[in-house]
C-alpha cells in the first residue's frame, strides 16, 4: 500500500505539472445557494454517523456539520463557547454552571440541559469506549444536575479551571437524550441529514434555523476518496469543489489558478519521541545531543516540502500558553559530539521505529538518520506496521516517530506527560511536573497560570523526550470560486467548517 500510494502520487504529479492555466475566478462576496461536494479520505464501509464514535477527519467534519459541542477550539486552540452560551465556575473550581443557547435540534425539539447530561452519560458509559471518555472522566455525573431547561451544573471530581477544554474534546457532541440509532442522525448543527451511503457519500442540507445564522450553501455532500491523487484529480476535473488533506507536492504543482490552495499553519507537529525510562535516552546529555543534531530547517524543507515551520521541541506553537520566549534550538554538531562522548554513547547504534501511519514520518526518520551521521551515534530506521504503529511504539523501543494534531497545550500535557497519562510515549514521569500541572489547572488568575505552563514547558524543553522538529501546514484544495475557507489549525472550530463556506 504505502509504496503504491507514493508512486501514484509521484506519477500524477509528473503528468499534471504541464496543465494549462484557465482564468481563475476569485471568490468575492458571500453568496447563497448551491451544493458543495467535499472529498475526504474515509474508513470505507465501516464509517458511522454516531458523533461520539467519530475518529477520522471525515467523521469529525460530518459531526461538526450535523451536531454542536458545548465548546470548541478557537484559532489559538483555546476553548470558545458554542452551544454553551457561557460558563461560570464556583470558587472551588469544582462546580461549573453552564447556560445553554436557546436553540433547537433538527426535529424541532429544543436543546435542553437533559440532552447535555444524557449525551455525556452516554460517552461516560463504563461499558463503552468513546474517544471523549477520558476528557470527560473528571465529571462527577451523579452529582451533576439540570438546574432548569437551559442550565446545567456540572460537579467535578477535582478543581479544574480548564474544564471548557473538556467540553471542546474531540467527539463530545450533544445529541438528543436517548439517541442511539444514528441511521438518521438528529443534531443541532448548521446542516441536517438527508442521506448516507457508507464509504461513499453523505448528503446534508442547510439548517435555516441554525443559531449562528443559516449556512450559505443549500447542500453539502461529503464524498470519500482515499487516495490523495484521486482527491486532487476529482478537484481538477470539477467533480468536487473541496479536497481535504493534500500533499505539499500537489500544492506546489498547482500554482496556475486552476485550483486554490489553502494552508493552515501549526496544524500538526512532527517529532521523534525518546523514552526516558530506559537506555539510552534515560541519559539527559544524550537527549540534549539529539536535540542539537536535528537540522530542523532541512527537515522542514525536505520532508514537508517547505509547507511548514521549524519547531522548538515544544508542542503548540501559536497556541494559548505556548512558551515563545524560549530560544529556538539550532544544530550544533560539535556540542552534540561532546555530549555523546560525555554520555559514553560513542559508537552506539539506536533503532528508530517509524511507519507510514502518518504522512512524512518515514521520510523524516531517514533524513534525521542522515543528519546524525558523523556524530558518533548511528540511527537505524525500522519501518513497522502502520495499522498498529501507535500502540506498538507506546510500549516498545526507545526512539520513534511521532506526530500530533492540534489540541490545547493543557490536553497535550494531561494525555501524554503526566505519570498516569494513558498515552505517555516518552515515559516522562516526574512528580514535581505532575504537581505543576495540578497547580496550573487550579489557578484562577490567567497570568499566573500562564507562568506555571511556561515553567512546565521550560523543563520539557531542557530535558524532555520529545524532539519536535516541525509544524506542518494542513493543506486543502478548493475550486477557485469557493470562498470562506479558514486557515485555522486542523481540528479546531474553523477547520472544515462548511457553514461559513460559499460557492461564488
Amino acid at each position: 500500500m504505502p509504496t503504491r500510494r507514493h508512486f501514484l502520487g509521484l506519477l500524477s504529479l509528473a503528468a499534471l505539472s504541464g496543465c494549462a492555466a484557465p482564468t481563475a475566478q476569485q471568490a468575492a462576496a458571500p453568496k447563497n445557494g448551491g451544493r458543495l461536494r467535499a472529498a475526504f479520505a474515509g474508513g470505507g464501509a465501516k464509517e458511522v454517523l454516531d458523533p461520539h464514535l467519530a475518529n477520522l477527519f471525515v467523521e469529525a467534519a460530518r459531526s461538526k456539520a450535523l451536531f454542536d459541542k458545548l465548546a470548541d477550539l478557537g484559532a489559538d486552540v483555546s476553548a470558545q463557547p458554542r452551544l454553551a452560551e457561557k460558563w461560570e465556575p464556583d470558587a472551588t473550581l469544582t462546580k461549573w454552571r453552564i447556560t445553554l443557547r436557546d436553540t433547537k435540534f433538527h426535529n424541532g425539539q429544543p436543546v435542553r440541559a437533559e440532552d447535555v447530561l444524557a449525551s455525556y452519560a452516554r460517552i461516560l458509559d463504563p461499558n463503552r469506549a468513546f474517544r471523549a471518555k477520558s476528557s470527560l472522566s473528571l465529571i462527577d455525573l451523579a452529582a451533576s444536575r439540570a438546574v432548569d431547561a437551559r442550565t446545567v451544573e456540572f460537579a467535578l471530581k477535582r478543581p479544574f479551571i480548564e474544564f471548557p477544554n473538556a467540553l471542546a474534546a474531540f467527539g463530545a457532541y450533544i445529541v438528543p437524550a436517548g439517541a442511539e440509532d444514528f441511521a438518521h442522525p438528529v443534531g443541532s448543527g448548521p446542516f441536517s441529514f438527508v442521506s448516507f451511503e457508507p464509504g461513499k457519500s453523505v448528503l446534508l442540507k442547510k439548517n435555516p434555523d441554525y443559531w449562528e445564522g443559516a449556512p450559505h450553501l443549500d447542500e453539502l455532500e461529503f464524498v470519500i476518496a482515499n487516495e490523495e491523487s484521486a482527491r486532487a484529480n476529482a478537484l481538477l476535473g470539477g467533480q468536487v469543489q473541496y479536497a481535504h488533506d493534500l500533499t505539499p507536492t500537489t500544492a506546489r504543482s498547482h500554482t496556475d489558478g486552476r485550483i486554490a490552495i489553502h494552508r493552515s499553519p501549526n496544524s500538526a507537529v512532527q517529532a521523534f519521541a525518546m523514552k526516558l525510562d530506559r537506555p539510552p535516552f534515560d541519559n539527559r546529555d544524550l537527549r540534549e545531543a539529539m536535540f542539537l543534531l536535528a537540522d530542523r530547517q532541512q527537515l522542514v524543507e525536505s520532508v514537508l516540502a517547505g509547507s511548514g515551520q521549524v519547531a522548538n521541541d515544544l508542542f503548540g506553537k501559536g497556541y494559548q500558553y505556548y512558551a515563545d520566549d524560549i530560544p529556538q534550538r539550532t544544530r550544533d554538531l560539535d556540542k552534540a559530539k561532546f555530549l555523546i562522548r560525555k554520555a559514553g554513547a560513542e559508537g552506539l547504534t539506536v533503532k528508530l521505529d517509524t511507519s507510514t501511519a502518518a504522512a512524512g514520518m518515514v521520510e523524516a526518520a531517514t533524513v534525521f538518520a542522515d543528519q546524525v551521521k558523523g556524530s558518533g551515534l548511528t540511527i537505524e530506521v525500522v519501518t513497522g506496521n502502520k495499522d498498529s504503529y501507535w500502540s506498538d511504539t507506546l510500549k516498545n523501543g526507545s526512539l520513534s516517530s511521532f506526530r500530533s494534531g492540534a489540541m490545547p497545550i493543557e490536553t497535550h500535557i494531561a494525555q501524554r506527560l503526566l505519570t498516569d497519562s494513558g498515552t505517555n510515549v516518552t515515559k516522562w514521569a516526574r512528580p514535581e511536573f505532575d504537581e505543576l500541572y495540578r497547580k496550573a489547572v487550579s489557578t484562577v488568575d490567567p497570568a499566573e497560570r500562564a507562568g506555571v505552563y511556561r515553567e512546565m514547558q521550560r523543563s520539557l524543553h531542557a530535558e524532555g523526550g520529545y524532539l519536535m522538529w516541525g509544524f506542518a501546514d494542513w493543506i486543502v484544495g478548493a475550486a477557485p470560486n469557493v470562498g470562506g475557507i479558514s486557515t485555522a489549525p486542523a481540528n479546531t472550530l474553523d477547520w472544515a467548517r462548511f457553514d461559513k463556506v460559499w460557492l461564488g
Binding site: 465501516k46 464509504g199 464524498v223 470519500i224 482515499n226 481538477l236
Partner: protein, 312 residues
Amino acid sequence: MTRYALRRLAIGLVQVLAVVTAVFLLVQALPGDAAVALAGDNPDPRRIEEIRSAMGLDRPALERFGAWLGGLVRGDLGVSLVSGRPVVEFLTDGLGPTLVLAVLALVLLVPLSVLLGVVAALREGGVVDRVLTTVTVGLHSIPEFALAVVLIAVFGVQLRWLPPTAVGADLLAQPQVLVLPLVVLLARPVCSVSRLVRAGMVEALASDHVRHARRLGISERRVRFAHALPNAVAPAVQQLARTTDWLLGGVIVVEAVFVIPGLGTILVDAVAGRDLPVVQGLAVVFAVTTVLVNLVADLIGFRLAPRSAVVA
C-alpha cells in the same frame, strides 16, 4: 459430466473452508487487532482494553472462529466489529460496483479478444498480425496503475473529455465515469486472451481435422468458425476464468485510482481495520467465486474440446 461436476463442487466446498481458515489465521498473525487499529493515534491501553471487551475480542480466538463458522452454516456472516453493521450489507454494497465493472469488462472482453485473435490468426505473418502482436505485447507490459494515471492525466484532467474519477457518481446513471476504468481493466486481458485465441486458431487451422474438413469441401467460412474456432477458444476459456477471478477480486488498484467503492476497497479497509468478520465474509465470496468460475470454465472447456479436459 454431472458426476464430474458434483465431485468438483465437493472439492470446492473443502477449498472454501480451507481458504477461510487460512485467512482467519493470517489475520490473527497480523500485529494488532481491531481495537488497536481503531484506537489509532490515541492508543491509551485502558481504552484499548475497553474497546476490546466492547467488541468481544477478549474471547479466545478459537471460540470466535467457531461462532463465526456456526453462523456461516446458517448463512449468517456476522456483524462488522467496527461498525456493528451486518457483513452481508458490506458485501452487497461493494458487490454492486465490482459486478458492474466485471460484467461490462467481460461482455466487452470476449468479442473483442476473439475478434482480434481470429483476425491476427487469419493474417498470420502479415502486416495486421505483426501490428496486433506489437501492440498487444506492448500494452500487456504496462501495469494497470501506470496506465490509469496516464489516462486520467490526459483524458480526465488535461483534455477534460472524461471524468477523472468516479467519486460520488452513480455508475449506471453516469456511464461516462466507467470509460477510463474499463479501458484500464480491459487493456491487459484483451492482450493475453487474444494472443491465446490467435495461437489456438493458428494451430487449429493447421490441424488434421481442419484439413480433413476442407478436403470434404466444407466452405472455408464454416471450417474456420465451426471447426477451428471452438478448438482455438478452449485454452482461452481457462485464461478467461482467471481473468474473471481477477475482476471479481475487486481490482484493487483500479478501484483506488478511480474511487469506485467496490469489494477491493472494502477488503483493504477491512484488513487495515482488522475487521475480521468482514475479511472472512469477503474471503468466502472470493473463494466461492473462484471455485465456481473455474468449475464453469472446466465444464465449458470439456464441451468445446473434450480431449483436453480429461487431463484436467
